[in-house]
């Protein structure tokens, strides 16, 4: 199964999750997602997702001047974002558990 198809459904959750501990700017967030194992995540998808979550009121932004390069736009979770992360996380856990059980019952190896 193509991972990119799966990513479409859970990229929101993934982005919210990597912002939980620490704020980040676009390329930084992308790097965290890749380091976490989501190798196939697309640059544009992450940027688009950030923009959509921001528009939905789940993120706040601020600009940090950089000595070495251009100014960076940092994203951070706000209260609504944290709530969303909690709810989406639960939904995913439950969904993943269901899928795992479904495959386990049929003897599929992990």
């Amino acid at each position: 199964m193509d991972t990119t198809q799966l990513l479409k459904g859970v990229l929101d959750l993934a982005v919210l999750a990597v912002l939980k501990e620490e704020d980040g700017y676009g390329y930084d967030i992308l790097r965290r997602l890749r380091e976490a194992g989501l190798e196939e995540v697309g640059d544009a998808s992450v940027y688009g997702t950030l923009r959509r979550l921001f528009a939905a009121g789940l993120l706040t932004t601020y600009v940090v001047p950089s000595e070495s390069g251009p100014h960076r736009k940092y994203y951070s979770l706000n209260v609504a974002g944290r709530d969303q992360l909690t709810r989406s996380g639960k939904t995913w856990r439950s969904f993943a558990t269901t899928m795992d059980a479904l495959l386990d019952d049929r003897g599929m190896a992990a």
Binding site: G26, A44, Y47, G48, K73
Partner: protein, 337 residues
């Protein structure tokens, strides 16, 4: 770092072009981080941006999908596709613009055309005056007329030209519907100008202004080089003048021979140009018609006076001496028309 700033700028431009249908604020927000992002991508690894990120168009599509950005309420997929096609065409046009520039000695075609814009403004003003004149159903040629007056037409012309120049100086700042209206008007004027061109061309080729040709040029007479007029006696008339019912000289043919003094005679309304080439020979002399054969015969002996003279020198038969004068002229034709 193998990726140049120019490559990054081009990539950004193409992404923005592919998002051209979005509201400007949305597009700006979507792409504001893009240059910095591309710079980081470029700094991180080798290869071109397209190798690592795909085409700018694909990038834009992914960005659009992930951001859930629609072109705005009420804009359907068809509209979006149209805008995308428009953006692609725009990109290609810009490339062509730069490619063809050197042919005109400039860096781009638009660079070449830019100084010509005031000329277009003048032309546009003139076309607008003509259009107004035509819409008001005034008979117009190349000058607009108002109430049949050329002077009023010239005032109209001055007005439209000034308006066109004013609009031309202001149009770069126009946005929204005034801009659209200007473009629509320009398109209408261009179509109209084509109609004017066709009209003028037809008038120019129909020889409306040449009074000579009006009566003399026709397919039937195209092959005529010279005209020979004979009077009722069959004599060639020299320097005949031809006129039509309006008194307009009829010009046919052209001089094809040298005159006495060795020059080519100028075309004039006096026919024939070349009397020597008359189709029916030289003019007949004023002398009487060719003599009829004369029959000279001694009177035949009458029956009453018959006196048989048995002389041996009798002339037994009337001698007929046809003393026809040989006429050197051929029978004169009589033109029957």
């Amino acid at each position: 770092m193998t990726v140049t700033g120019q490559e990054i700028a081009d990539y950004v431009d193409r992404v923005r072009a592919a998002l051209a249908d979005l509201p400007p604020a949305v597009r700006d927000e979507l792409t504001e981080d893009l240059p910095e992002h591309l710079a980081e991508v470029a700094a991180e690894s080798e290869g071109s941006l397209v190798d690592r990120l795909g085409t700018p168009e694909a990038y834009a599509a992914e960005l659009r999908a992930a951001a859930g950005a629609e072109a705005g309420a009420g804009r359907g997929r068809r509209r979006r596709r149209l805008a995308a096609a428009q953006a692609r065409a725009g990109t290609q046009l810009r490339a062509l613009d730069i490619q063809l520039g050197p042919l005109l000695g400039q860096s781009s075609v638009s660079e070449f055309l830019r100084p010509l814009r005031p000329a277009w403004w003048l032309l546009r003003g003139w076309l607008a005056a003509l259009l107004i004149s035509v819409v008001l159903q005034q008979p117009s040629g190349l000058l607009p007329r108002l109430d049949g007056s050329v002077l009023a037409g010239l005032f109209l012309l001055a007005g439209t030209v000034l308006a066109s120049v004013w609009l031309g100086r202001r149009s770069p700042g126009l946005q929204g519907w005034p801009r659209r209206l200007t473009r629509l008007g320009t398109a209408a004027l261009l179509i109209f100008s084509f109609g004017v061109l066709v009209n003028v061309d037809q008038h120019a080729s129909s020889d409306q202004f040449g009074s000579y040709q009006e009566v003399s040029v026709g397919d039937r007479y195209d092959s005529i080089e010279d005209v020979f007029v004979y009077d009722q006696e069959g004599r060639l008339v020299r320097n005949a003048q031809l006129f039509d019912q309006n008194g307009v000289p009829i010009r046919l043919g052209w001089p094809t021979c040298l005159s006495v003094d060795g020059n080519m005679p100028p075309p004039r309304n006096a026919y024939p140009y070349c009397p020597d080439r008359a189709p029916f020979g030289p003019p007949v002399p004023a002398a009487p018609a060719p003599a009829a054969p004369t029959v000279s015969a001694p009177p035949a002996p009458g029956p009453g006076t018959a006196t048989p003279t048995p002389s041996g020198s009798a002339t037994p038969a009337p001698t007929v001496t046809p003393s026809a004068v040989p006429s050197e002229s051929t029978p004169t034709p009589a033109p029957t028309r």
